[in-house]
């Protein structure tokens, strides 16, 4: 910076500089000048001093403020500045831990509720399966009982099987009647009969042959279910058995056109 130092000083820029009336750029320029020219620096210091004396001179009263007051304020503020972050840190840890615990707890509860729901639903379906299985066992036991009863029946000493052959209406049909000596019960094995059409039912007749006298001993109701072995009461002196297809509820006398099977009891078993 080439300049006339005296001129620079006389311009009055240094007074403005000390009073703080210059722009930041001008301030930097003056600062550089003070660094470069000791006369300028000296001038600045004298202006500063003169203004300082002027200032203190106008004070009407002493307003003592010991430096300790300032220092204490700074230290107090330093303490709070130090203490606050520490507290904040501690509080934060507790808060974070709390939040973390809450989130974990919430997640855990959610998981447990979920698990509980799943297990409840599993139990329900298992209970249902159990019920089904129990029913199957009951059914199986019932079937077994029936089968056992059937086998026992067939094995009895005094039982007489009577084969009933297919007739004109249903040549392929067949049936068996088991008659027990000295017992009014007869058992009809109707496995060889076709499924009766809707609204029709098989009726079993006990026959006297001479003269031919049919007597109804019962209907094979609920034909589709079970093992197709029917137990009927027969207190007649039967010589033969016939099965006809009759309207639901049965008929007074057999409809001979609808005679499905017929068989005669052998004279001597």
């Amino acid at each position: 910076m080439i300049m006339n130092v005296k001129e620079y000083i006389e311009s009055g820029i240094l007074e403005l500089y000390v009073a703080g009336a210059l722009s930041p750029k001008e301030n930097e320029e003056v600062y550089e000048a003070t660094q470069k020219y000791p006369e300028i620096k000296n001038e600045v210091e004298e202006i500063e001093k003169a203004l300082g004396v002027l200032s203190t001179s106008i004070m009407p009263v002493d307003i003592p403020i010991p430096f300790d007051v300032i220092k204490k304020k700074i230290e107090e503020q330093g303490e709070t500045a130090k203490v606050i972050p520490l507290e904040a840190k501690k509080t934060n840890w507790i808060a974070y831990t709390g939040w973390a615990a809450s989130i974990i707890l919430a997640a855990g509860l959610f998981w447990m509720v979920n698990q509980n729901n799943e297990l409840s639903s599993d139990i329900k379906s298992q209970t249902l399966k159990n019920a089904v299985l129990e029913q199957q066992i009951v059914d199986a036991n019932a079937n077994l009982d029936e089968a056992t009863a059937l086998i026992n029946l067939l094995r009895e000493k005094d039982i007489t099987p009577v084969g009933l052959g297919g007739q004109a209406v249903a040549p392929d049909a067949y049936a068996k009647v088991y008659v027990k000596k000295g017992d009014t019960k007869v058992y009809i094995d109707a496995l060889g009969l076709p499924e009766p059409p809707e609204g029709k039912v098989y009726q079993v007749w006990s026959l006297k042959l001479n003269p031919l006298t049919p007597t109804s001993i019962g209907l094979l109701e609920d034909f589709a279910e079970g093992n197709k072995v029917f137990e009927l009461e027969n207190d007649n002196e039967s010589e033969a058995f016939g099965i006809t297809l009759e309207p639901a509820g049965g008929s007074e006398s057999p409809t001979l056109e609808q005679l499905y099977t017929l068989g005669v009891i052998s004279a001597t078993p």
């Binding site: 006389e10 311009s11 009055g12 820029i13 007074e15 403005l16 500089y17 000390v18 009073a19 703080g20 009336a21 210059l22 722009s23 930041p24 301030n27 930097e28 600062y31 600045v44 210091e45 004298e46 202006i47 500063e48 001093k49 003169a50 203004l51 300082g52 004396v53 002027l54 200032s55 203190t56 001179s57 106008i58 004070m59 009407p60 009263v61 002493d62 307003i63 403020i65 430096f67 007051v69 300032i70 220092k71 304020k73 700074i74 503020q77």
Partner: protein, 175 residues
């Protein structure tokens, strides 16, 4: 001096105390000239120096003198106070009462080293010097603002201020 400021910038409390001893009375006067009451001066000066300490790192010599820096903080704090709601009483119109008027209103000068000189200076101070020193030094007007306020060309403001302060220096610095 430079070293003292450097130590202050590095938050040396001892250096800060020395600077406080050097400048606090002057800043009290600057603040008093604006707020015109004792309580506000006490409050503002404490705030100013606490603020200076807190902002020590932001000060740099390139931007201006430490003296100018603390002067700026003081004036701004005082002006903020006059603008704040709780400052309803007291001086409002700076044009009406200048620093000179404070001087004329008291007899506290006997204690001051340069009292006689200052009294002589202020008794003979030119009106333009009174206004310029008040505006630029005590109230922090920029050169441009002072120029507009006084209807004086920018260059004239500079040279006039130079002359006013030279007279002051002649007297108070015994030159």
């Amino acid at each position: 001096m430079e070293e003292l400021v450097l130590r202050f910038q590095q938050k040396d409390m001892k250096a800060f105390e020395q600077l406080y001893d050097m400048y606090s009375d002057q800043m009290k006067a600057v603040v008093y000239n604006i707020v015109r009451n004792r309580e506000d001066v006490e409050e503002i000066i404490q705030d100013v120096f606490v603020k200076a300490w807190n902002n020590a790192g932001s000060y740099s010599a390139e931007k201006g003198r430490f003296y100018t820096w603390i002067l700026n903080i003081s004036r701004n704090a005082a002006i903020d106070k006059t603008r704040s709601k709780d400052f309803k009483k007291g001086k409002q119109n700076s044009d009406a009462t200048f620093f000179v008027d404070i001087f004329e209103s008291h007899d506290n000068l006997d204690k001051k080293v340069d009292a006689i000189g200052i009294k002589k200076y202020l008794n003979n101070i030119k009106e333009k010097c009174k206004v310029l020193i008040e505006l630029i030094y005590f109230e922090g007007y920029t050169q441009k603002e002072a120029s507009e306020e006084t209807d004086t060309p920018l260059g004239t403001i500079k040279t006039n201020l130079r002359k006013c302060i030279s007279d002051l220096r002649e007297i108070v610095l015994n030159r």
